[in-house]
Protein backbone atom coordinates (compact mmCIF):
# COMPACT_ATOMS: atom_id res chain seq x y z
CA UNK A 1 0.00 0.00 0.00
CA UNK A 2 1.72 3.11 -1.15
CA UNK A 3 -1.21 5.49 -0.89
CA UNK A 4 -0.52 8.27 1.57
CA UNK A 5 -2.88 8.98 4.43
CA UNK A 6 -4.21 12.06 2.63
CA UNK A 7 -5.02 10.03 -0.45
CA UNK A 8 -6.86 7.60 1.77
CA UNK A 9 -9.02 10.32 3.29
CA UNK A 10 -9.89 11.79 -0.09
CA UNK A 11 -10.87 8.38 -1.30
CA UNK A 12 -13.06 7.60 1.68
CA UNK A 13 -14.74 11.01 1.50
CA UNK A 14 -15.47 10.71 -2.19
CA UNK A 15 -16.84 7.23 -1.65
CA UNK A 16 -19.22 8.52 1.01
CA UNK A 17 -20.21 11.45 -1.19
CA UNK A 18 -20.99 9.05 -4.03
CA UNK A 19 -23.09 6.80 -1.81
CA UNK A 20 -24.93 9.73 -0.26
CA UNK A 21 -25.88 11.07 -3.67
CA UNK A 22 -27.16 7.63 -4.69
CA UNK A 23 -29.18 7.35 -1.47
CA UNK A 24 -30.70 10.79 -1.93
CA UNK A 25 -31.73 9.82 -5.44
CA UNK A 26 -33.24 6.61 -4.08
CA UNK A 27 -35.15 8.39 -1.33
CA UNK A 28 -36.26 11.60 -3.05
CA UNK A 29 -39.34 10.17 -4.82
CA UNK A 30 -40.48 8.73 -1.48
CA UNK A 31 -40.03 12.08 0.20
CA UNK A 32 -41.98 13.62 -2.67
CA UNK A 33 -44.88 11.22 -2.07
CA UNK A 34 -44.95 11.79 1.69
CA UNK A 35 -44.51 15.56 1.58
CA UNK A 36 -47.02 16.10 -1.21
CA UNK A 37 -49.63 13.87 0.41
CA UNK A 38 -49.42 16.20 3.42
CA UNK A 39 -49.87 19.42 1.46
CA UNK A 40 -53.02 21.10 0.31
CA UNK A 41 -53.74 20.96 -3.38
CA UNK A 42 -53.67 24.76 -3.63
CA UNK A 43 -50.18 24.90 -2.15
CA UNK A 44 -49.00 22.12 -4.44
CA UNK A 45 -50.34 23.76 -7.58
CA UNK A 46 -48.61 27.00 -6.60
CA UNK A 47 -45.23 25.32 -6.26
CA UNK A 48 -44.81 21.54 -6.57
CA UNK A 49 -41.34 21.62 -5.02
CA UNK A 50 -42.36 23.25 -1.74
CA UNK A 51 -41.93 21.96 1.78
CA UNK A 52 -45.09 20.95 3.70
CA UNK A 53 -44.78 23.84 6.16
CA UNK A 54 -48.50 23.63 7.02
CA UNK A 55 -49.09 19.88 6.91
CA UNK A 56 -52.69 18.82 6.42
CA UNK A 57 -54.22 15.37 6.66
CA UNK A 58 -57.13 16.30 4.44
CA UNK A 59 -56.02 14.16 1.49
CA UNK A 60 -55.29 11.13 3.66
CA UNK A 61 -58.62 11.51 5.44
CA UNK A 62 -60.41 11.86 2.13
CA UNK A 63 -58.74 8.66 0.87
CA UNK A 64 -59.65 6.71 3.98
CA UNK A 65 -63.21 7.88 4.49
CA UNK A 66 -64.62 9.14 1.20
CA UNK A 67 -62.92 7.00 -1.43
CA UNK A 68 -63.11 3.25 -2.12
CA UNK A 69 -59.48 2.84 -1.03
CA UNK A 70 -60.16 0.86 2.18
CA UNK A 71 -62.26 -1.60 0.22
CA UNK A 72 -59.51 -2.03 -2.41
CA UNK A 73 -56.91 -2.40 0.26
CA UNK A 74 -58.97 -5.14 1.88
CA UNK A 75 -59.27 -6.88 -1.51
CA UNK A 76 -55.51 -6.71 -1.98
CA UNK A 77 -55.05 -8.08 1.50
CA UNK A 78 -57.40 -11.02 0.89
CA UNK A 79 -55.82 -11.83 -2.46
CA UNK A 80 -52.32 -11.63 -1.03
CA UNK A 81 -53.01 -13.79 2.00
CA UNK A 82 -54.91 -16.50 0.09
CA UNK A 83 -52.59 -16.90 -2.87
CA UNK A 84 -49.44 -16.80 -0.73
CA UNK A 85 -50.86 -19.33 1.74
CA UNK A 86 -51.88 -21.79 -0.95
CA UNK A 87 -48.68 -21.51 -2.95
CA UNK A 88 -46.48 -21.83 0.13
CA UNK A 89 -48.37 -24.93 1.20
CA UNK A 90 -48.06 -26.53 -2.24
CA UNK A 91 -44.39 -25.60 -2.48
CA UNK A 92 -43.54 -27.04 0.92
CA UNK A 93 -45.02 -30.40 0.00
CA UNK A 94 -43.73 -30.45 -3.58
CA UNK A 95 -40.20 -29.41 -2.66
CA UNK A 96 -40.16 -31.94 0.18
CA UNK A 97 -41.17 -34.68 -2.23
CA UNK A 98 -38.64 -33.56 -4.83
CA UNK A 99 -35.69 -33.24 -2.48
CA UNK A 100 -36.19 -36.10 -0.02
CA UNK A 101 -38.60 -38.35 -1.91
CA UNK A 102 -36.37 -38.25 -5.01
CA UNK A 103 -39.18 -39.46 -7.24
CA UNK A 104 -38.31 -40.12 -10.86
CA UNK A 105 -37.67 -36.93 -12.75
CA UNK A 106 -37.29 -34.82 -9.64
CA UNK A 107 -34.41 -32.83 -11.12
CA UNK A 108 -36.38 -32.15 -14.30
CA UNK A 109 -39.21 -31.02 -12.04
CA UNK A 110 -36.95 -28.50 -10.33
CA UNK A 111 -35.41 -27.15 -13.54
CA UNK A 112 -38.90 -26.83 -15.05
CA UNK A 113 -39.76 -24.67 -12.06
CA UNK A 114 -36.68 -22.54 -12.66
CA UNK A 115 -37.67 -22.01 -16.29
CA UNK A 116 -41.32 -21.22 -15.45
CA UNK A 117 -40.24 -18.64 -12.88
CA UNK A 118 -39.44 -16.19 -15.66
CA UNK A 119 -42.31 -16.87 -18.08
CA UNK A 120 -43.87 -13.45 -18.67
CA UNK A 121 -47.38 -13.50 -17.17
CA UNK A 122 -48.65 -11.34 -20.01
CA UNK A 123 -48.31 -14.31 -22.38
CA UNK A 124 -50.71 -16.33 -20.25
CA UNK A 125 -53.19 -13.52 -19.89
CA UNK A 126 -55.53 -14.05 -22.83
CA UNK A 127 -56.29 -17.77 -22.38
CA UNK A 128 -56.61 -17.37 -18.62
CA UNK A 129 -59.07 -14.54 -19.11
CA UNK A 130 -61.14 -16.61 -21.49
CA UNK A 131 -61.13 -19.43 -18.99
CA UNK A 132 -62.21 -17.11 -16.18
CA UNK A 133 -65.02 -15.67 -18.29
CA UNK A 134 -66.29 -19.16 -19.13
CA UNK A 135 -66.21 -20.22 -15.50
CA UNK A 136 -67.88 -16.99 -14.38
CA UNK A 137 -65.02 -15.89 -12.14
CA UNK A 138 -64.20 -12.54 -13.73
CA UNK A 139 -64.65 -9.71 -11.21
CA UNK A 140 -64.38 -12.22 -8.38
CA UNK A 141 -61.27 -12.32 -6.28
CA UNK A 142 -60.92 -16.09 -6.85
CA UNK A 143 -59.89 -15.44 -10.44
CA UNK A 144 -56.71 -13.60 -9.52
CA UNK A 145 -56.08 -15.76 -6.47
CA UNK A 146 -55.96 -18.85 -8.68
CA UNK A 147 -53.79 -17.18 -11.29
CA UNK A 148 -51.38 -15.67 -8.77
CA UNK A 149 -51.04 -18.97 -6.95
CA UNK A 150 -50.09 -20.66 -10.21
CA UNK A 151 -47.55 -17.97 -10.99
CA UNK A 152 -46.01 -18.10 -7.52
CA UNK A 153 -45.62 -21.86 -7.23
CA UNK A 154 -42.52 -22.33 -9.47
CA UNK A 155 -40.45 -19.79 -7.55
CA UNK A 156 -41.75 -21.13 -4.25
CA UNK A 157 -40.73 -24.69 -5.15
CA UNK A 158 -37.33 -23.54 -6.38
CA UNK A 159 -36.78 -21.56 -3.20
CA UNK A 160 -37.89 -24.26 -0.77
CA UNK A 161 -36.01 -26.99 -2.64
CA UNK A 162 -32.87 -24.88 -2.36
CA UNK A 163 -33.40 -24.63 1.36
CA UNK A 164 -34.27 -28.30 1.87
CA UNK A 165 -30.99 -29.32 0.24
CA UNK A 166 -29.16 -27.65 3.13
CA UNK A 167 -30.88 -29.96 5.65
CA UNK A 168 -28.47 -32.83 6.36
CA UNK A 169 -29.77 -36.05 4.90
CA UNK A 170 -28.58 -37.99 7.98
CA UNK A 171 -31.29 -36.29 9.98
CA UNK A 172 -33.97 -37.66 7.68
CA UNK A 173 -32.38 -41.09 7.48
CA UNK A 174 -32.05 -41.33 11.24
CA UNK A 175 -35.71 -40.53 11.66
CA UNK A 176 -36.87 -42.95 9.01
CA UNK A 177 -34.70 -45.75 10.43
CA UNK A 178 -36.57 -45.24 13.67
CA UNK A 179 -39.76 -45.92 11.81
CA UNK A 180 -41.08 -42.41 11.15
CA UNK A 181 -43.18 -42.16 7.99
CA UNK A 182 -42.66 -39.40 5.41
CA UNK A 183 -45.46 -37.26 6.83
CA UNK A 184 -44.19 -37.54 10.36
CA UNK A 185 -40.71 -36.57 9.22
CA UNK A 186 -42.17 -33.63 7.33
CA UNK A 187 -44.19 -32.42 10.29
CA UNK A 188 -41.76 -33.15 13.12
CA UNK A 189 -38.38 -32.44 11.50
CA UNK A 190 -38.57 -30.54 8.24
CA UNK A 191 -41.31 -28.03 9.07
CA UNK A 192 -39.82 -26.85 12.38
CA UNK A 193 -36.47 -26.32 10.63
CA UNK A 194 -37.97 -24.27 7.80
CA UNK A 195 -39.45 -21.44 9.85
CA UNK A 196 -37.10 -18.71 8.70
CA UNK A 197 -36.99 -19.92 5.10
CA UNK A 198 -40.79 -20.13 4.89
CA UNK A 199 -41.10 -16.67 6.34
CA UNK A 200 -38.67 -15.30 3.76
CA UNK A 201 -40.64 -16.99 1.02
CA UNK A 202 -43.93 -15.64 2.34
CA UNK A 203 -42.61 -12.08 2.47
CA UNK A 204 -41.28 -12.18 -1.08
CA UNK A 205 -44.48 -13.65 -2.51
CA UNK A 206 -46.65 -11.22 -0.56
CA UNK A 207 -44.73 -8.26 -1.97
CA UNK A 208 -45.10 -9.62 -5.48
CA UNK A 209 -48.86 -10.13 -5.19
CA UNK A 210 -49.45 -6.80 -3.45
CA UNK A 211 -47.56 -4.96 -6.20
CA UNK A 212 -49.02 -6.80 -9.20
CA UNK A 213 -50.98 -4.65 -11.62
CA UNK A 214 -51.59 -6.14 -15.08
CA UNK A 215 -53.57 -9.23 -14.08
CA UNK A 216 -55.58 -7.34 -11.47
CA UNK A 217 -56.42 -4.70 -14.05
CA UNK A 218 -57.75 -7.21 -16.55
CA UNK A 219 -59.52 -9.68 -14.26
CA UNK A 220 -61.10 -7.34 -11.73
CA UNK A 221 -62.87 -4.53 -13.50
CA UNK A 222 -65.81 -3.79 -11.26
CA UNK A 223 -65.50 -0.97 -8.76
CA UNK A 224 -65.98 -3.19 -5.73
CA UNK A 225 -63.57 -5.96 -6.75
CA UNK A 226 -60.48 -3.92 -7.64
CA UNK A 227 -57.17 -4.43 -5.93
CA UNK A 228 -55.30 -1.49 -4.51
CA UNK A 229 -52.80 -1.18 -7.37
CA UNK A 230 -55.50 -1.25 -10.03
CA UNK A 231 -57.43 1.24 -7.92
CA UNK A 232 -54.48 3.62 -7.78
CA UNK A 233 -54.43 3.84 -11.56
CA UNK A 234 -58.13 4.74 -11.36
CA UNK A 235 -57.34 7.59 -8.99
CA UNK A 236 -54.60 8.73 -11.33
CA UNK A 237 -57.17 9.05 -14.11
CA UNK A 238 -59.93 10.50 -11.95
CA UNK A 239 -58.14 13.21 -10.01
CA UNK A 240 -55.85 14.61 -12.66
CA UNK A 241 -55.75 18.00 -10.99
CA UNK A 242 -55.38 16.86 -7.40
CA UNK A 243 -51.93 15.33 -7.14
CA UNK A 244 -51.81 15.42 -3.32
CA UNK A 245 -54.94 13.25 -3.16
CA UNK A 246 -53.57 10.67 -5.60
CA UNK A 247 -50.26 10.58 -3.75
CA UNK A 248 -52.09 10.11 -0.46
CA UNK A 249 -53.45 6.91 -2.01
CA UNK A 250 -49.98 5.94 -3.22
CA UNK A 251 -48.58 6.60 0.25
CA UNK A 252 -51.16 4.33 1.86
CA UNK A 253 -50.33 1.58 -0.64
CA UNK A 254 -46.60 1.85 0.03
CA UNK A 255 -46.89 2.03 3.79
CA UNK A 256 -47.48 -1.69 4.50
CA UNK A 257 -44.55 -2.61 2.26
CA UNK A 258 -42.18 -0.18 3.94
CA UNK A 259 -43.22 -1.29 7.42
CA UNK A 260 -42.65 -4.92 6.45
CA UNK A 261 -39.29 -4.03 4.90
CA UNK A 262 -38.08 -2.17 7.95
CA UNK A 263 -39.10 -4.98 10.27
CA UNK A 264 -37.57 -7.83 8.32
CA UNK A 265 -35.04 -6.44 5.91
CA UNK A 266 -32.74 -9.42 5.80
CA UNK A 267 -35.65 -11.65 4.80
CA UNK A 268 -36.31 -9.39 1.83
CA UNK A 269 -32.74 -9.28 0.67
CA UNK A 270 -32.25 -13.01 1.00
CA UNK A 271 -35.56 -13.94 -0.59
CA UNK A 272 -35.60 -11.51 -3.47
CA UNK A 273 -32.10 -12.39 -4.56
CA UNK A 274 -32.69 -16.13 -4.17
CA UNK A 275 -33.41 -16.61 -7.85
CA UNK A 276 -29.86 -15.63 -8.67
CA UNK A 277 -27.85 -17.03 -5.76
CA UNK A 278 -26.47 -20.52 -5.54
Amino acid sequence: MRTTARHGIVRVLSQHAFLIIICLAALYPLWFIVSTALRSNAAYQLDPTGFPSHPTFASLRNMLFHQPLPRWMWNSFLVTVSSVAVSTFIALLAAYAAVFGRFRGHSIFISTSVALMVVPPVTLLVPMFVFMVNSGMVNHLQSVIIFYTGLLVPFAIFFMAGFFRTIPNELIEAASSEGAGPFTIFRRIVLPLSGAASFTLIVVQAIWVWNELLIALVFLQSESSRTLMAGLTQFQGRFTTDEPLVLAGALLSILPVVVLYLSGQRFFVRGLTAGIGK
Binding site: T3, I22, L27, I33, T112, T123, T233, A250, V258
Partner: protein, 268 residues
Protein backbone atom coordinates in the same frame (compact mmCIF):
# COMPACT_ATOMS: atom_id res chain seq x y z
CA UNK B 1 -48.47 -25.69 -12.58
CA UNK B 2 -50.03 -27.67 -15.38
CA UNK B 3 -53.14 -25.55 -15.09
CA UNK B 4 -51.54 -22.15 -14.66
CA UNK B 5 -48.85 -22.63 -17.29
CA UNK B 6 -49.54 -25.69 -19.42
CA UNK B 7 -53.11 -24.89 -20.36
CA UNK B 8 -52.66 -21.20 -21.21
CA UNK B 9 -49.38 -21.78 -23.02
CA UNK B 10 -51.00 -24.25 -25.38
CA UNK B 11 -54.14 -22.17 -25.70
CA UNK B 12 -52.33 -18.94 -26.50
CA UNK B 13 -50.54 -20.60 -29.41
CA UNK B 14 -53.88 -21.91 -30.71
CA UNK B 15 -55.59 -18.55 -30.26
CA UNK B 16 -52.91 -16.83 -32.26
CA UNK B 17 -54.20 -18.55 -35.40
CA UNK B 18 -57.78 -17.37 -34.93
CA UNK B 19 -59.56 -14.07 -35.40
CA UNK B 20 -62.80 -12.73 -33.99
CA UNK B 21 -63.71 -13.03 -30.34
CA UNK B 22 -63.26 -16.19 -28.37
CA UNK B 23 -66.92 -17.15 -28.52
CA UNK B 24 -66.80 -17.60 -32.29
CA UNK B 25 -63.21 -18.00 -33.41
CA UNK B 26 -62.42 -18.03 -37.10
CA UNK B 27 -59.35 -19.85 -38.37
CA UNK B 28 -57.10 -17.32 -40.12
CA UNK B 29 -53.78 -19.13 -40.18
CA UNK B 30 -50.85 -16.76 -40.06
CA UNK B 31 -52.87 -13.63 -40.81
CA UNK B 32 -52.65 -12.39 -37.23
CA UNK B 33 -48.89 -12.53 -37.41
CA UNK B 34 -48.82 -10.80 -40.77
CA UNK B 35 -51.18 -8.10 -39.52
CA UNK B 36 -49.12 -7.51 -36.41
CA UNK B 37 -45.80 -7.37 -38.20
CA UNK B 38 -47.07 -4.75 -40.62
CA UNK B 39 -48.65 -2.67 -37.86
CA UNK B 40 -46.50 0.40 -37.16
CA UNK B 41 -47.72 0.46 -33.55
CA UNK B 42 -46.34 -3.04 -33.02
CA UNK B 43 -43.01 -2.19 -34.61
CA UNK B 44 -42.79 0.87 -32.40
CA UNK B 45 -43.53 -1.28 -29.35
CA UNK B 46 -40.86 -3.79 -30.27
CA UNK B 47 -38.43 -0.98 -30.98
CA UNK B 48 -39.15 0.58 -27.57
CA UNK B 49 -38.41 -2.71 -25.84
CA UNK B 50 -35.09 -2.72 -27.69
CA UNK B 51 -34.39 0.84 -26.53
CA UNK B 52 -35.04 -0.24 -22.98
CA UNK B 53 -32.25 -2.80 -23.39
CA UNK B 54 -29.88 0.15 -23.02
CA UNK B 55 -30.91 0.43 -19.39
CA UNK B 56 -29.28 -2.96 -18.67
CA UNK B 57 -25.61 -1.95 -19.10
CA UNK B 58 -26.25 1.41 -17.40
CA UNK B 59 -27.90 -0.24 -14.44
CA UNK B 60 -25.30 -2.99 -14.13
CA UNK B 61 -22.50 -0.42 -14.41
CA UNK B 62 -23.84 1.86 -11.68
CA UNK B 63 -24.80 -1.15 -9.55
CA UNK B 64 -21.31 -2.58 -9.86
CA UNK B 65 -19.69 0.74 -8.96
CA UNK B 66 -21.83 1.00 -5.83
CA UNK B 67 -21.13 -2.61 -4.87
CA UNK B 68 -17.38 -2.15 -5.27
CA UNK B 69 -17.41 0.94 -3.08
CA UNK B 70 -19.52 -0.84 -0.46
CA UNK B 71 -17.10 -3.76 -0.62
CA UNK B 72 -14.31 -1.41 0.51
CA UNK B 73 -15.36 -2.05 4.12
CA UNK B 74 -16.89 1.40 4.20
CA UNK B 75 -18.47 2.64 7.43
CA UNK B 76 -22.24 2.37 7.47
CA UNK B 77 -22.16 0.17 4.39
CA UNK B 78 -25.15 -1.87 5.52
CA UNK B 79 -27.25 1.26 5.97
CA UNK B 80 -26.37 2.54 2.52
CA UNK B 81 -27.24 -0.83 1.08
CA UNK B 82 -30.65 -1.00 2.72
CA UNK B 83 -31.54 2.47 1.45
CA UNK B 84 -30.46 1.61 -2.09
CA UNK B 85 -32.44 -1.65 -2.00
CA UNK B 86 -35.64 -0.03 -0.74
CA UNK B 87 -37.00 1.13 -4.14
CA UNK B 88 -36.87 -2.43 -5.43
CA UNK B 89 -39.53 -3.65 -3.00
CA UNK B 90 -41.96 -0.77 -3.52
CA UNK B 91 -45.00 -1.10 -5.77
CA UNK B 92 -44.04 0.06 -9.27
CA UNK B 93 -47.55 1.43 -9.73
CA UNK B 94 -47.38 3.85 -6.80
CA UNK B 95 -43.83 4.87 -7.66
CA UNK B 96 -44.70 5.28 -11.32
CA UNK B 97 -47.55 7.63 -10.46
CA UNK B 98 -45.18 9.71 -8.32
CA UNK B 99 -42.71 9.86 -11.20
CA UNK B 100 -45.46 10.90 -13.59
CA UNK B 101 -46.08 13.94 -11.36
CA UNK B 102 -42.37 14.65 -10.90
CA UNK B 103 -41.82 14.67 -14.66
CA UNK B 104 -44.94 16.63 -15.68
CA UNK B 105 -44.58 19.74 -17.81
CA UNK B 106 -44.91 21.82 -14.64
CA UNK B 107 -43.77 19.12 -12.29
CA UNK B 108 -41.00 19.14 -9.73
CA UNK B 109 -38.13 18.47 -12.10
CA UNK B 110 -38.91 21.25 -14.54
CA UNK B 111 -39.86 23.70 -11.79
CA UNK B 112 -36.56 23.03 -10.02
CA UNK B 113 -34.64 23.48 -13.24
CA UNK B 114 -36.36 26.82 -13.78
CA UNK B 115 -35.65 27.88 -10.19
CA UNK B 116 -32.00 27.08 -10.81
CA UNK B 117 -32.09 29.24 -13.96
CA UNK B 118 -31.61 26.13 -16.04
CA UNK B 119 -35.01 26.52 -17.67
CA UNK B 120 -33.41 25.62 -20.99
CA UNK B 121 -32.96 22.08 -19.74
CA UNK B 122 -36.63 21.73 -18.83
CA UNK B 123 -38.30 19.28 -21.17
CA UNK B 124 -41.69 17.78 -21.70
CA UNK B 125 -40.39 14.49 -20.31
CA UNK B 126 -43.58 12.50 -20.82
CA UNK B 127 -45.27 14.36 -23.66
CA UNK B 128 -42.31 14.40 -26.04
CA UNK B 129 -42.38 11.34 -28.27
CA UNK B 130 -38.60 10.93 -28.12
CA UNK B 131 -38.21 11.46 -24.40
CA UNK B 132 -41.15 9.43 -23.08
CA UNK B 133 -39.38 6.08 -23.41
CA UNK B 134 -36.22 7.59 -21.91
CA UNK B 135 -38.27 8.55 -18.86
CA UNK B 136 -39.57 5.00 -18.63
CA UNK B 137 -35.99 3.74 -18.78
CA UNK B 138 -34.99 6.12 -16.01
CA UNK B 139 -37.76 4.79 -13.79
CA UNK B 140 -36.75 1.19 -14.52
CA UNK B 141 -33.15 1.93 -13.54
CA UNK B 142 -34.25 3.81 -10.42
CA UNK B 143 -36.28 0.87 -9.20
CA UNK B 144 -34.07 -2.06 -10.24
CA UNK B 145 -30.69 -0.63 -9.26
CA UNK B 146 -30.86 -1.86 -5.68
CA UNK B 147 -31.29 -5.42 -6.87
CA UNK B 148 -28.02 -5.29 -8.81
CA UNK B 149 -26.25 -3.71 -5.85
CA UNK B 150 -27.37 -6.42 -3.43
CA UNK B 151 -26.54 -9.26 -5.82
CA UNK B 152 -23.08 -7.87 -6.58
CA UNK B 153 -22.30 -7.09 -2.95
CA UNK B 154 -23.15 -10.65 -1.97
CA UNK B 155 -20.98 -12.00 -4.79
CA UNK B 156 -18.02 -9.81 -3.77
CA UNK B 157 -18.42 -10.83 -0.17
CA UNK B 158 -18.21 -14.50 -1.05
CA UNK B 159 -14.83 -14.11 -2.80
CA UNK B 160 -11.81 -15.51 -0.98
CA UNK B 161 -9.94 -12.54 0.56
CA UNK B 162 -6.55 -14.06 -0.28
CA UNK B 163 -6.55 -13.07 -3.96
CA UNK B 164 -7.25 -9.42 -3.19
CA UNK B 165 -4.60 -9.51 -0.46
CA UNK B 166 -2.05 -10.99 -2.83
CA UNK B 167 -2.78 -8.34 -5.43
CA UNK B 168 -2.33 -5.61 -2.83
CA UNK B 169 1.02 -7.01 -1.76
CA UNK B 170 2.05 -7.05 -5.40
CA UNK B 171 1.40 -3.30 -5.40
CA UNK B 172 -1.88 -3.10 -7.31
CA UNK B 173 -3.59 0.29 -7.02
CA UNK B 174 -7.25 0.69 -6.07
CA UNK B 175 -8.53 0.80 -9.64
CA UNK B 176 -6.35 -2.08 -10.72
CA UNK B 177 -7.55 -4.14 -7.81
CA UNK B 178 -11.20 -3.51 -8.66
CA UNK B 179 -11.08 -3.95 -12.40
CA UNK B 180 -8.40 -6.61 -12.79
CA UNK B 181 -8.94 -8.73 -9.70
CA UNK B 182 -12.42 -8.36 -8.25
CA UNK B 183 -14.66 -7.77 -11.26
CA UNK B 184 -13.35 -10.74 -13.30
CA UNK B 185 -14.04 -13.03 -10.38
CA UNK B 186 -17.73 -12.15 -10.23
CA UNK B 187 -18.17 -12.21 -13.99
CA UNK B 188 -20.53 -15.22 -13.99
CA UNK B 189 -22.92 -13.35 -11.67
CA UNK B 190 -22.76 -10.25 -13.85
CA UNK B 191 -23.63 -12.32 -16.91
CA UNK B 192 -26.53 -14.04 -15.17
CA UNK B 193 -27.95 -10.76 -13.92
CA UNK B 194 -27.57 -9.26 -17.39
CA UNK B 195 -29.70 -12.04 -18.88
CA UNK B 196 -32.30 -11.67 -16.13
CA UNK B 197 -32.49 -7.92 -16.67
CA UNK B 198 -32.87 -8.38 -20.42
CA UNK B 199 -35.84 -10.66 -19.73
CA UNK B 200 -37.20 -8.00 -17.38
CA UNK B 201 -37.08 -5.09 -19.83
CA UNK B 202 -38.53 -7.20 -22.63
CA UNK B 203 -41.41 -8.72 -20.75
CA UNK B 204 -41.97 -7.25 -17.27
CA UNK B 205 -42.23 -3.49 -17.76
CA UNK B 206 -45.98 -3.11 -18.17
CA UNK B 207 -46.49 -1.37 -14.82
CA UNK B 208 -43.95 1.33 -15.51
CA UNK B 209 -45.24 2.16 -18.95
CA UNK B 210 -48.90 1.96 -18.04
CA UNK B 211 -48.78 4.50 -15.22
CA UNK B 212 -46.01 6.73 -16.52
CA UNK B 213 -46.96 7.33 -20.15
CA UNK B 214 -49.70 4.78 -21.00
CA UNK B 215 -47.63 4.18 -24.12
CA UNK B 216 -48.02 7.75 -25.30
CA UNK B 217 -47.82 10.20 -26.79
CA UNK B 218 -49.38 8.20 -29.60
CA UNK B 219 -47.60 4.86 -29.54
CA UNK B 220 -44.18 6.38 -29.02
CA UNK B 221 -43.45 4.71 -25.70
CA UNK B 222 -45.55 1.58 -26.12
CA UNK B 223 -44.00 -1.80 -25.36
CA UNK B 224 -45.04 -5.30 -26.44
CA UNK B 225 -46.86 -6.00 -23.19
CA UNK B 226 -48.87 -2.81 -23.58
CA UNK B 227 -49.62 -3.72 -27.19
CA UNK B 228 -50.95 -7.09 -26.06
CA UNK B 229 -53.03 -5.47 -23.37
CA UNK B 230 -54.44 -2.89 -25.78
CA UNK B 231 -55.32 -5.38 -28.54
CA UNK B 232 -56.90 -7.59 -25.94
CA UNK B 233 -58.95 -4.74 -24.46
CA UNK B 234 -60.15 -3.91 -27.96
CA UNK B 235 -61.37 -7.44 -28.45
CA UNK B 236 -58.67 -8.55 -30.91
CA UNK B 237 -57.77 -11.67 -28.98
CA UNK B 238 -56.03 -13.24 -31.94
CA UNK B 239 -53.72 -10.27 -32.36
CA UNK B 240 -52.96 -10.22 -28.66
CA UNK B 241 -52.24 -13.94 -28.71
CA UNK B 242 -49.91 -13.75 -31.70
CA UNK B 243 -47.83 -11.02 -30.03
CA UNK B 244 -47.86 -13.06 -26.84
CA UNK B 245 -46.48 -16.03 -28.77
CA UNK B 246 -43.69 -13.90 -30.24
CA UNK B 247 -42.87 -12.47 -26.84
CA UNK B 248 -42.86 -15.97 -25.44
CA UNK B 249 -40.48 -17.06 -28.18
CA UNK B 250 -38.05 -14.29 -27.29
CA UNK B 251 -38.41 -15.01 -23.60
CA UNK B 252 -37.81 -18.74 -24.16
CA UNK B 253 -34.53 -18.08 -25.93
CA UNK B 254 -33.49 -15.85 -23.04
CA UNK B 255 -34.71 -18.31 -20.44
CA UNK B 256 -32.68 -21.02 -22.15
CA UNK B 257 -29.71 -18.68 -22.09
CA UNK B 258 -30.22 -18.00 -18.39
CA UNK B 259 -30.34 -21.72 -17.59
CA UNK B 260 -27.15 -22.19 -19.57
CA UNK B 261 -25.37 -19.31 -17.82
CA UNK B 262 -26.56 -20.68 -14.48
CA UNK B 263 -25.04 -24.06 -15.32
CA UNK B 264 -21.75 -22.47 -16.37
CA UNK B 265 -21.71 -20.70 -13.05
CA UNK B 266 -22.12 -23.92 -11.11
CA UNK B 267 -19.41 -25.67 -13.15
CA UNK B 268 -16.91 -22.96 -12.29
Amino acid sequence: MAFAFGFPLVQVVRDSFYAGNFASPIWVGLDNYKGVLSDPAFRQSLFDNMKLLLTVPIMLGIGLAIALVLNDRIRGGRHYQSVVFLPYVLPATAIGIAFSFLLQENGVLNTSLRHAHLGGLAQDWLGNSHLAIVSVGGLVIWQQLGFAVVVFTAALLSLPPETAEAARIDGAGWWQLQLRVLVPQIRPIIELLAVIQVITVISWVFNYVYVLTAGGPGFSSSVMELYIWRSFSNGSDGTAASVAVMLLGMASVLIGLSLWVRKQKIVQ
